[in-house]
Structure formats: C-alpha cells, structure tokens
Amino acid sequence: MSELCAVVGVGQTQHSAKRDDVSIPGLVREAALRALDDAGMTFADIDAVVLGKAPDMFEGVMMPELYLADALGASGKPMLRVHTAGSVGGSTALVAASLIQAGVHGRVLCVAFEKQSESNATWAVTPSMPFQPPVVAGAGGYFTPHIRAYMKRSGAPPDVGIKVALKDRLNAIRNPYAHLHMPDITYEMIEESAMLWEPIRFHETCPSSDGACAMVLTSESIADATSKPPAWVWSTAMRSEPTMFSGRDQVNPQAGRDCAADVYEQAGITNPREEIDVAEVYVPFSWFEPMWMENLGFAPLGEGWKMTVEGATAFDGDLPINPSGGVLSSNPIGASGMLRFAEAALQVRGQAGEHQVPGAKKALGHAYGGGSQFFAMWIVGSDKPEGR
C-alpha cells in the first residue's frame, strides 16, 4: 500500500505576454515562494525539487534545470527535470507525487514554467526537418485537421468553438493571475476575429504567456498538521502513444481514453460526469473542449459538443470545465499542465477565490502534449481517499 500524498501549497505567477521584470530564475522563484508561503514552509523544509518545462527550444536555453537549482533552493538536495512536451506540468506533478507515495520523501516542491517571450515557440515547434515534407504551418497546422475531423464525425454546429472560447475568457475575469482579461469579450468579437488556421479563429487560440506554477506535496502526517485544508491525491495516471501509426485516432486518442479509465478506476469512480465536481482540462484550441469531453468519458462519443452548447461546462453548469479560464486564457506552455493540476487542488481546498465552484469536493486535473501523445491526469479530493 503506497503512502497518501496531498497538496498543501499552491503558487503561481502573474501570467502575461512578457514578464520582462524577472529573469527565468526570478519567474520560477515567484511561483515557488508563493507555494511555500501557502504551505507555511520555507525552502529549508523541502526534501527534493522536481522541475518541468516544455522543449528547451522554447527559450533557446538548454537544460535550464542546471542553472535553476539554486533559485529553487535545491542545493544539496535531489533535483529532477521532467519533460513530456505540453503535458509536462502534469507529469512533473505526478513524478513529485510518486516520490511521496513511494515513501522516498515527505515534502517535495514541484515547479513548472515557460517564458515564451524569450524566444518564439511557434517557430520552435515547426523547424524544417530533413526527413519530413517541407510544410511549415505552426502548432495550429497540426491540430486543426483533427478539429475538422471531429466536426465531420460529430456533426457539431460550427460555432461550438466560439462558445468554448467565450466561456473560458469570461471565466478568466474571475482569475487575477490569468494572462487574458477581456471583460468586454463577446460572441461576435470571437466570431469576427481573424481566421488563423481555418476553422480556428484568433480568439479561439491560446495566448503565448510567460508564467510559472508550483506546488508543495507532502505525505499524510505532514498534511494532517498543516493549517490550511490539503487537497488529497486520490489517483494519478500517465499514458503515451506513438506520434503516428496507421489508423491512429488523433481525435479521440487511445492513450487519453486509457489514462482516464485508469485514473477513474483507482479513485473508485464509475460515473465521472456525476462524481467529479469540476475539471481543469488542457484546451489550447477551443474545439478541444468537446473532443476531450468525449475522450475523458464525460460525454458519449460524438456528443461532447452538447455539453458546451447546453451550458454543462459553464461556470454554473453541472460539470464546470476550466473555471480558471484555462489554457485559452493563460499558456505558459510548460506550466499549463501544472496549472490544471493546481487549479483542481485549489478547488477542492476551497481556495480558488472568485472562481471557486461552490462545494467542489472532487476535481480532475488533465494535461496532454506532443501530437496528442502524452497524457497526465490526477483526481484530487477535499477528503482522504475512501478506506484510508
């Protein structure tokens, strides 16, 4: 039987297009100090540090963990770097959790970041490769064909993406850390924004953000002694699959379905739509909300879009998705996955402030990355897992 793990501290930076007031070490430290403060701890209390970020090319800084060790108080302690593309914030949290669950450490600080303004991530993800056709189309060029395939398969109305974008941007107004605060956002404004990668419009895409997120994870006895309510980790799961193989379903990837089934089973969840109160799901392009609703088993195949249209995923819906504003409102890529996990923890701790979903007791944090090939998920609860 593994040790129980809990989130006892959460911190994040102000996310924005350009945080030129801080260096990369300054950025990660801002999040780390806030998480430690929330946990009532200092760097001296931490046993190990786990750091995650997306590809090094995003800043052009190779192996940033080498020079961030001192900024994160890791001198003389174990420090690990995690990388699983866009899902890395989630998998970083899960590596940290596994150190607690395995009984190796009692207090682990996990941190994830991206400082997109220091380079050009769009170009970094689409270099000219000698072994691929010379087609350069950016991240949207990779994902929009799958969105088109989803629209065809599901027969969803063409404006579902607009509705997702509007909902997440309105949610972001409640989140003081969000990059995009657009109080005047309207359906028409999104509809009339430039069509970047048809069928995806400008306002249906995530921004490029600088930002970081950090969490302090501890074992059961330490969490029991903290003053603020902890978020108990009920289950964790990761899955991956190859970038390409014949017949691969990139609209509804097998790895995502398997990861969700695993994380539900470990948590004893048989009806996720009923049993989960709120979810923070990695939605970088609007249409990924309905796609992931199906992949996560919240909606039957081909009906994920109905949850958006019927308002089920809205802040006051039966399963609020991304009350923080989500990736569509803040996208410091490497940190985006951890922000989903951390926001899930804040919800069940009752610490989400203006975007707190009333009475949330069980929440899902979800991240994916690469060509929809890495998945990381956890379920956290305000109570300890049943039977423990």
Binding site: D20, D21, G60, E118, T126, P130, F131, Q132, P133, P134, V135, V136, A137, G138, G140, G141, T144, P145, H146, R148, A149, K152, R153, A194, M195, L196, W197, E198, P242, T243, M244, F245, S246, G247, D249, Q250, V251
Partner: protein, 161 residues
C-alpha cells in the same frame, strides 16, 4: 547611472547532419527517381510511406518494399492564413493525404486550387520538381494538386483521420 536591461538578443543557429539510415535511404533514393517508396509491416500488413525502420504499432522491423501511387485522397486539412511559409502566400492548404496503396497519410501542401474549394475526400496527385532537379530530398515533391476525379467515399478514409 545604470539602466535597467530587460533583454539582450542572442541568436542561435543549429546545423544538423541527418543520418537517414537504411529505411529513409530507400525512400530518399526513390524520390530521386520520382518514385514513392514505402514498406509493409510483416505483422499488421500496413504500408508506411516514407519507408521507415519499424512499425510504430507493432514494434517490428518493416519488410517488403512497396511502391505506392502518386495520387491519393485528402483525409483532412487546414487552411493556413498566417504567413508561415515564406515561399507561399497565405491562404494555403496543408493536408493529410492518403496515397493509394499506403496506410498512413502524409502531410503536404495543396496547390493549383483555391483554398476554399479544398475538401475532405478530394483526390490529389504529386507535382514533382523538374526531372533535372530531382534529388534524394523531401523537396523533390513540390506539392499536391487536384486530379479532377470524383471525391473518395468517406468510409474509404475515415480510419485515417
């Protein structure tokens, strides 16, 4: 007096020597002759183009060399309205193309048709560089263009979205 420095530019250039290996060499030698060469998986029978070392689904070494057709079907696509690709003015279309005889779509440019007329199921064919310019490089195919044939039935490519 000191000024606050918020950024200094340090451009990075990466030169990369690519070793194609046996499988990619088959494909590259094929395009140098104006042919599209794939390989069939001995376990699942799927044909991968370009030829590659192993089947990503089965994890076994790919076997029999297969030449596939130079025409195929657009399974899905994206209209790019951003100026990413200096050589081509937006809007342009990037599409997943399932070549006849292949079981894995490849991603390429669609030209010689207005972007708004491109559709799922559209039949297209490869347009090569001039014979004298053919070489063992991915640039040997310039783009794909419509063949004018009737669209393929959705069921024929729905497993490749």
């Amino acid at each position: 007096m000191t000024e606050r420095i918020v950024g200094i530019k340090t451009p990075i250039k990466l030169e990369y020597t690519y070793t194609p290996g046996l499988a990619s060499s088959r494909y590259l030698n094929g395009v140098a002759r104006g042919k599209l060469i794939g390989q069939r998986c001995p376990e699942c029978s799927k044909v991968y183009v370009p030829a590659r070392g192993c089947c990503p689904a089965c994890g076994v070494t790919l076997g029999e060399e297969v030449e596939v057709a130079q025409s195929g079907t657009i399974t899905t696509f994206c209209v790019v309205n951003l100026p990413f690709y200096q050589a081509i003015k937006p809007p342009y279309v990037c599409a997943s193309i399932l070549l006849d005889g292949a079981d894995m779509a490849l991603f390429h440019l669609i030209q010689e048709v207005p972007a708004e007329e491109v559709r799922m199921g559209m039949r297209v064919e490869a347009v090569w560089v001039e014979p004298g310019e053919l070489g063992p490089t991915m640039e040997s195919i310039r783009y794909f263009r419509p063949t004018g044939e009737p669209d393929a039935d959705y069921d024929s490519y729905k497993e490749h979205l």
